[in-house]
Symmetry: C2
Subunit: 142 residues, 2 copies
Amino acid sequence: MNNISIYTEKLRESGLRPTRQRLKICELLFSPEKTFHFTINDLTKIIEDKLSEKISLATIYNTIHAFKKKGYLKEISINSDKSYFDTNVTEHHHFFDEDTNELIDCSNDDIDSVNIKKNITGKKIKSIEVLIKVASDNQNQN
Amino acid sequence: MNNISIYTEKLRESGLRPTRQRLKICELLFSPEKTFHFTINDLTKIIEDKLSEKISLATIYNTIHAFKKKGYLKEISINSDKSYFDTNVTEHHHFFDEDTNELIDCSNDDIDSVNIKKNITGKKIKSIEVLIKVASDNQNQN
DNA sequence: CATTTACATTAAAACAATTCTAAACTGTTG
DNA sequence: CAACAGTTTAGAATTGTTTTAATGTAAATG
Ligand SMILES: [Mn+2]
Ligand SMILES: [Mn+2]
Ligand SMILES: [Zn+2]
Ligand SMILES: [Zn+2]
């Protein structure tokens, strides 16, 4: 099947024209069968190294932000060093491996649903997400 | 009671000598009856404005990091713009008000305890924390 | 089809948070 | 007091991110 037209649609939905650069980014993000987590730096490296392409940082940031705004990507905050993005846009929880700095999806089967009994008055709950930090047993957790 | 000796002890425990600047920081962090959340920028502002003191940024960062390492402060990741710190070092959950960018402790009474059924093999769970993002009902959530 | 216009890409500059550096300072110890 | 270890500081450097402004591209207009 023609993925290009899917990417084109996603770009249009995000308010962007389907350019060569943006289609390349789409291919990296949306063609893998499995969802994954990445930083802008990861993505830039892949574009440079694996694709031997050159897409300017500004274009990468613009495109990623447009997708995030539209809901085609999710941003995950693990630490304040950098932003992580997630191609799995469903509401879900994460393990964060402090040894490897790796972010791993927590299947809904692996956790009981979280029940909030009392909310802030006048506010609506937008999301409930759990972050489980893990590390090797015999590790010094700084 | 003499808080100074408590602060001195905390500093020593964190591997730092009790200097005038560091004791000032201790007072701001540990004398309030209620715990609170702050950014380095918040803290710097308080020192400058309310205390009319001048403590260099480097000293502030050093001291906060030493306390964090020792476990006298906790770092909370909400977004990647800046780090939030918490004087409540117990494991607990947070509401984050997207309208005001305010971080609010979620009392343990307000949430059922989170039950993880399956963990990553060979890893130990270091913490389980829930982040509940809230916003005004009639708000555009970008 | 030529012209206008809107949108894109880019390199580089600007920016903000954080970390590092190196020199001056302080307090303790021999 | 002299030597030393640790501290403070201003400012420089670094890092991730955003903005700018010049140039390019391609859809829309007539
Ligand atoms: Mn950090
Ligand atoms: Mn952000
Ligand atoms: Zn995920
Ligand atoms: Zn808290």
